[in-house]
Symmetry: C2
Subunit: 299 residues, 2 copies
Amino acid sequence: MPNNDKPIGVFDSGLGGLTVARAISHALPHESITYVGDTKRCPYGPRDQAEVRLFVRQVGAWLERRDVKFVVVACNTATAAGLDVLQRALDVPVIGVIEPGARAAVQATRTRRVGVLATQGSVDSGAYPSAIHMLDAGVGVTQQAAPVFVDIVERKLTSGECLHKEWMRDRGVFDAPDVRLAVEQGVAPLMNRGIDTVVLGCTHFPLLSRQIRAALGDGVRIVSSAEETCRELAETLERRGDLASADNEPTYRFASTSDDITSFAVAGSFIFGHDLDSIEHIDVEDLEALADERDMEGN
Amino acid sequence: MPNNDKPIGVFDSGLGGLTVARAISHALPHESITYVGDTKRCPYGPRDQAEVRLFVRQVGAWLERRDVKFVVVACNTATAAGLDVLQRALDVPVIGVIEPGARAAVQATRTRRVGVLATQGSVDSGAYPSAIHMLDAGVGVTQQAAPVFVDIVERKLTSGECLHKEWMRDRGVFDAPDVRLAVEQGVAPLMNRGIDTVVLGCTHFPLLSRQIRAALGDGVRIVSSAEETCRELAETLERRGDLASADNEPTYRFASTSDDITSFAVAGSFIFGHDLDSIEHIDVEDLEALADERDMEGN
């Protein structure tokens, strides 16, 4: 296979990264994607940094064996903890979701005050304020942890509601009053602070973007890390001359460490936007062995 | 004047930043530009960081008084020393030349080895390796100081040769054998190291890009910080909705702290690509007073 037509590896601790895969499949329709959700060990958020770095390294080694041309770490926690490790370890380029979102927010803000909605782990890592201030030391950043948003998405997606395909398709599943109320409460600390731009710093959050937008009001611009990461990917592939050829028939492959492939398939198809035809099971033990092997090779 | 049609402030310690102003005038032909060359206190390179930060602050205050909508610090030394100070001090967005060049190099390299040609001061600051590794910890960076390139450009531009307009226009002035030899020697340490991408980390160097390209050979891609900074500017203006209107008649104004406005005009018109119609003299004392005033206002 010519290098250009090799798949892009995308990975997340779970399902949220499928928002990034979806953005890629829309913006770059000739690109093949190999997606890994490390769902068995999900969530990464509460784990310590060293452990997350190890997991990132393992999934990276698995993707490398699948001969991907590029790796996207589509998970904020994994990016904050392990992006640099993977960039040093792999021969192909690796990007994360934090810098592209931070950059878009810095470019967009007029009031020079940016809000970040993320998980507690991402907030605690300080990765967004750090990336934003690297680009513009004069932009004020207010972070707000919204762990309940992840719970809502996970709960709704794994509930029976998700089996109603029509309802899923128009995202009606997140229009329930309890969701609207939880979103309003979640974003409240970002209101009335002069913030005109809010970064969705968790790959689950784009699923609630309509509700978050309604809660924040028209004056606030929403930056989706998923879309911005996809932009960064497209720009890099173009600059390297690595875009898939126009006649490439893209393949979408999915892999999960979870034993329950069915619920991955159902929730995943909702997020990705169409059925996940090919889902592979990965044994966590195999992942562990892979990273060990590569380390023994001196990489 | 509507905010969109206000000028973009561009500044450099001297003339090199005019390569950035030129790139802006080509890529964004409706944008007005107000350019400041702090030529009397040029070069900034040998000065200590605290002094450069103060100068950056002063010129920034001058540009703010001129009601610019955006500031581009078109000087590597000034960016490394004072970008963050200016971003904190001004209400308008401020970008430098280092991050855009670093980003383009990271995106472009296939061998994951990047070369940086810069002044000694920029090399010593480590600003390029730091910006490159923030984006991709796995990219190797080799820096090479080429102070002689600045000398060549300055010497040629202020020599009698520059008065032959036709010769200037096709850049023949830099095709002399002595220049070619100096450039070959300057880039030699970057050869045979697997480097496929070289950043021109000094705003003077795009003037020698043809010669640098010839010396490095076809396999090496040249990244011009001037062009990449212009890209970043365009993207930010667009995202903010701040692009000048299509019917804006752009004005180009120039200001210099030098007492010898004539030589600024001659060399400047060569770099900018057409005559500098309006050149203002700025007293260094006035600059000093401006920054003091603003500091007393509590900013």
